[in-house]
């Protein structure tokens, strides 16, 4: 059982380290992972779905705001900052950087560039999403082995 847990933890470490090498995640993610000790074993497995829901909801709202005429750049700004905050807080580095790109386009009130930047965020999220699903799966297996 201990050997299985160790193997699962190694798999998790390999995935996260690979994502870090690609710049997709940064050290904040391991810090968030370490918060399990002060919370519950399910902390990360619960946090990641919450994060994904946050991102999906905010992307939807950004899309809707951009589609309206005239574009409410104030709202775009607020939504972008909200997304930047949660992506950086969980360590999703490239996603947070993509938010900065969108922020610049919003600041310049350039609708076309906003659209491209929003697509960039979607792509980064899709890239990250499958890895996050795998991380959650591993976390749940690790916790069930430890129980």
């Amino acid at each position: 059982m201990a050997a299985n847990t160790e193997a699962l933890n190694q798999q998790l470490q390999q995935i996260v380290n690979s994502l870090k090498e690609q710049g997709i995640l940064d050290s904040q993610f391991w810090m968030v992972h370490s918060l399990k000790e002060a919370s519950s074993p399910f902390f990360l497995a619960q946090l990641i779905p919450m994060f994904c829901h946050n991102v999906q909801t905010t992307l939807r709202d950004l899309n809707r705001t951009l589609e309206k005429e005239p574009v409410n750049y104030y709202d775009m700004n607020e939504l972008t900052m909200k997304l930047k905050g949660c992506t950086s807080s969980i360590g999703a580095r490239r996603l947070a950087l993509a938010c900065v790109t969108l922020w610049r386009a919003v600041d310049n009130k350039n609708k076309d560039v906003c659209g491209s930047a929003l697509n960039g965020i979607r792509q980064e999220y899709q890239t990250l999403r499958s890895s996050l699903d795998r991380i959650v799966e591993l976390e749940r297996r690790i916790v069930s082995h430890q129980a």
């Binding site: 918060l35 002060a38 919370s39 946090l47 905050g85 360590g91």
Partner: protein, 145 residues
Amino acid sequence: MVSEKMGFGNVMSTSKTMKIIDTEKKISVLIVEDDLLIRKIHKVMMTKFGTEVQLASNGKEAVDLFLSGASFDLILTDLEMPIMDGIEATKQLRSMGVTSMIVGVTSRNQDSEIQAFMKSGLNACYVKPLNAEKVTAVLNELKNI
């Protein structure tokens, strides 16, 4: 773009009279943040650092806590929140005579935005994410006053 942190000796810091911290008991922290995910991360992080944490989901809740008689050694507050934002909450708390250390934690990183937040009465301001290094700096500053 402003650097990651402003305050604690930086030219933009404000020197507010700080209350004496009793180092025998746990440091009490109020986290003021509307985003549930970030609130959860910050809560567990501050708990891991051995502090006693209470939560508020906007500036008005924070002000109401103080009005009801609560007090905290440290307030970590977001800038943009519904009902009452971090600037308004900080101004109100300072006008009420609250001398707790108030630290802003925001996604914003433009000079003008951070300066406006600092002017409301913060002791320091950090750009998200809140990490172990920033928490350590804040708690060390708190213990050294």
